[in-house]
Amino acid sequence: MLAYTVRRILVSVPVLIVSTFVVFLVVINSGDPVANFATSRQPAPSKAAVAAFARHIHADQPAVERYWNWITGVLHGDFGPSVQTNLNIGHDLFTRFRVTVTLVAASIVIALIMAVIFGVFSAIRQYSVADYVITFLGFLFLAMPVFWFAVLLKQAGIWFNQQTGSQFLGTIGEKSPYLDVDTTWNEFTDHIGHLVLPTITLALVSFASWTRYTRASMLEVLNSDYIRLARAKGLRRGKVLVRHALRTALIPLTTVTALDIAIVLGGAVITETIFQWHGMGEMLVQSAQTVDVYRTMAWLLLSAVVVIGFNLVADLLYAVLDPRIRYD
């Protein structure tokens, strides 16, 4: 198992290098920050200033050399120069990562819990009214654009605050700009209040497809022989469901969760934009607007590491959960 883990991590390294190289080529060709610099400033900068700017952001280097300088720099903790002077990309990235990670983690946990509850319920009551309602809601949520639902939730949050006369549900930002009483408890509730609506929004991105997945996999298990045997031996229904069926049915869900992590990260960009969080979503949008190559690359590199890491963890979990699978 340990050998497998080490081998998988070693294999991920070339994948990461090739993938980031391709992305790097795409990103440096997706816009021209030097032209932006030369045309968008008043008064127009001198030729020398433009050339200095190009040198500063490494736009004068050939692509391969530029990539090499960037990737070796990253290994030394230097994420490269931003088009915004005085912006340390590494610092920016990790500050924002801390903001986003709470949102993503909370919403994945909530989506998984809801998906398991609804999916299992739907499977054991197959073709009941509840099953049809859950299936229909699943289809509806799959078809619902995240941004539309997010705006609705934001409105609902504002309405809730007006009705209760409280400020509990935060609709702007990841925390209040200032707090009345600066205690740990206030800070904590403020944080939770700001987390509620974005978390629900982001959980919805994956909740629907995970529910359908749980239902399908639970149905398959429930119709298998060993469940019939367990019931025939006289085990109680509840025990069979939890100990025998659910355990097996949930194994494939780990893979699906890992594969969907990129979709969740994309959803986080939209969610953060609507709730005006200063997280990684805002970072990506800003760097695309300003054609900030290294800031974009920092974002994409971190997301690639997260995606590869999730896939690795899912594969390892698979072996832990399913005794038939052994990696040597």
Binding site: L142, V151, V291
Partner: protein, 306 residues
């Protein structure tokens, strides 16, 4: 049931003795169509979807307001004159939603077509030749699959200048890999079938076998995937336009319309809800059609029992 005729029953005109139970001959396509037509949710969805398409593409020619002309009325609630109301600058929302639906559908359909054609050929070639070709081609597909669709699309399309076909090309360039994997796995089993051997014995070229024998037989999963891609496409395009990296004004899309109305949910709710409902309606009907097609092509994997 009319498809099984009892021997000697009225209309067959055959004597009882030499006529066993017969089943009318049907081609594969007829079987698939029959199964699809019986799928109620899929049929209703197909009708609704076709109506939306017709409305979006023919409607603007019949409607007396243009999506890019101001009217004298601004911020009007829905009325007979403006069925979807007007926005703060006086644009007729009915004309704008028609135009937005049109753009969003064009983008989504181009995404589905583009990535299906590229992905199907890619997957079929990889699966047909196997070996090194397969390994190289599928590693490239895997590489594309690891890219976060929304983030990369956002970065690239920031340069697109809002042309609808460019947005479609960018998204299709990231989604074809899904299709190629599905088609490859179908082709891997098809290439071992006898009819491929027969074709090769008759001297058919590789290209002939791939395009005339393998791809047509993998049409089921290809079409099902294409419908799913229409839904993915419309949701991605509207999300991009919402964040400001998709379709740019003066043109419009459903995502852009929702984005422009997001601060007016309380004051002019019609501007926010109607384009949203159209996105949901299109994605929902497409998903149901895809489900019906999946059941029709592969009755063993039936999801809805009749």
């Amino acid at each position: 049931m009319t498809d099984i005729e009892a021997p000697g029953s009225a209309g067959t005109g055959l004597p009882r003795a030499d006529h066993e139970f017969t089943v009318r001959h049907r081609t594969q396509t007829q079987l698939v169509l029959r199964r699809f037509v019986r799928h109620r949710a899929a049929m209703v969805s197909l009708v609704v979807f076709v109506l939306i398409v017709l409305w979006a593409f023919i409607g603007p020619h019949l409607w007396h307001y243009s999506y890019q002309k101001y009217t004298a009325d601004n911020s009007q609630a829905p009325s007979w004159k403006h069925p979807f109301g007007t926005n703060a600058s006086g644009y007729d929302a009915y004309a704008q939603v028609m135009r937005g639906t049109q753009t969003s559908l064009e983008v989504a359909i181009l995404i589905a077509l583009g990535s299906t054609v590229v992905g199907a050929v890619w997957g079929a070639v990889a699966g047909f030749y196997r070996g090194v070709v397969d390994a190289v081609m599928m590693r490239i597909a895997d590489l594309v699959l690891t890219l976060p669709l929304f983030a990369i699309a956002l970065v690239i399309s920031s340069r697109s200048g809002g042309a609808w076909y460019w947005i479609a090309v960018v998204i299709a360039g990231l989604t074809w890999a899904y299709v190629s994997r599905v088609v490859r796995s179908a082709v891997l089993s098809l290439r071992e079938k006898e009819f491929v051997e027969a074709a090769r014995a008759l001297g058919a070229s590789d290209a002939w076998i791939i395009f005339r024998h393998l791809l047509p037989n993998a049409l089921g999963p290809i079409i099902v995937n294409a419908t799913v891609l229409v839904a993915t496409g419309i949701l991605t395009e509207t999300a991009l336009s919402f964040v400001g990296f998709g379709v740019q004004p003066p043109d419009t899309s459903l995502g852009l319309l929702v984005s422009q109305a997001q601060t007016a949910v309380d004051t002019r709710p019609w501007l926010f809800y109607i384009p949203g409902f159209f996105i949901i309606a299109i994605a929902l009907t497409i998903n149901f059609i895809g489900d019906g097609l999946r059941d029709a092509f592969d009755p063993r994997q039936q999801r809805v029992r009749q």
